[in-house]
């Protein structure tokens, strides 16, 4: 019973265009969300986060949007670069800061 879901297992985008990765959650108690990026044979690395008191957080080419009423968040990458090709996980912390992760979306940015 997944509390955090990423319904698109993969996404392919042309270099320079926008990448939009989506995430839905079911637990209305979640008040903080994170995106992690993972390259093959490496551990996940933190990318960007958002608190539920905000609806947008921006960091360079990365912006996360939160729609609390829809229990939906999205990560926008503009412009997309080949080095952005990775698996992206959205996550939310529960008790003990234990992260609940979505299933991940594999992003492929084509040159």
């Amino acid at each position: 019973d997944q509390q955090v879901k990423q319904n698109s297992p993969s996404l392919s985008v042309q270099e320079g265009r926008i990448s939009i990765l989506n995430c839905d959650y079911t637990n209305s108690m979640f008040d903080y969300f994170l995106w992690y990026k993972k390259y093959p044979a490496e551990g996940p690395t933190f990318l960007i986060s958002i608190s539920s008191i905000k609806d947008k957080n921006e960091d360079g080419r990365f912006t996360v949007f939160l729609n609390k009423s829809a229990k939906h968040l999205s990560l926008h990458i503009v412009p997309s670069q080949p080095g952005d090709s990775a698996v992206y996980f959205c996550a939310a912390p529960e008790a003990g800061n234990m992260l609940t992760f979505g299933g991940g979306t594999r992003l492929m940015v084509k040159p």
């Binding site: 903080y32 992690y36 044979a41 551990g43 529960e94 003990g96 800061n97 299933g103 991940g104």
Partner: protein, 114 residues
């Protein structure tokens, strides 16, 4: 200078054996975690450990036990290994248990049980 390191990187073993995976962090963090990434690539929390306080995900079998000799280390012991234990295990750490503390992950240990 690796922040969170794990050994071994690969571990191949027979069913029924007992094995350990080591994790060390040099970030001075107070909290460490173990996650499991299964064959379907889902990342799931197993444990959170902070200053002798252990929080266990209820779905984790009691064959799995974390052991912390000191604040910088959290090792994972697995008894009576089963085929379904084959997965990638990631260790992580954060400054403390605060829900907004960023977690830093190790590179993973790939366990294959034959």
């Amino acid at each position: 200078d690796t922040a969170v390191s794990q050994t071994p990187k690969y571990l191949v073993t027979q069913m029924g054996n007992d094995k350990s995976i080591k994790c060390e962090q040099n970030l001075g963090h107070d909290t460490m975690y173990w996650y499991k990434q299964d064959s379907k690539k889902f990342l799931k929390i197993m444990f959170s450990y902070n200053n002798k306080e252990l929080i266990i995900n209820e779905t984790v079998p009691n064959r799995f036990s974390p052991k912390s000799p000191d604040k910088a280390h959290l090792n994972l012991h697995i008894n009576s290994l089963e085929l379904g234990d084959s997965a990638v295990y990631f260790c992580a750490s954060s400054q403390d248990l605060g829900p907004r503390q960023t977690q830093y992950f190790g590179p993973g240990t790939r366990l294959l049980v034959l």
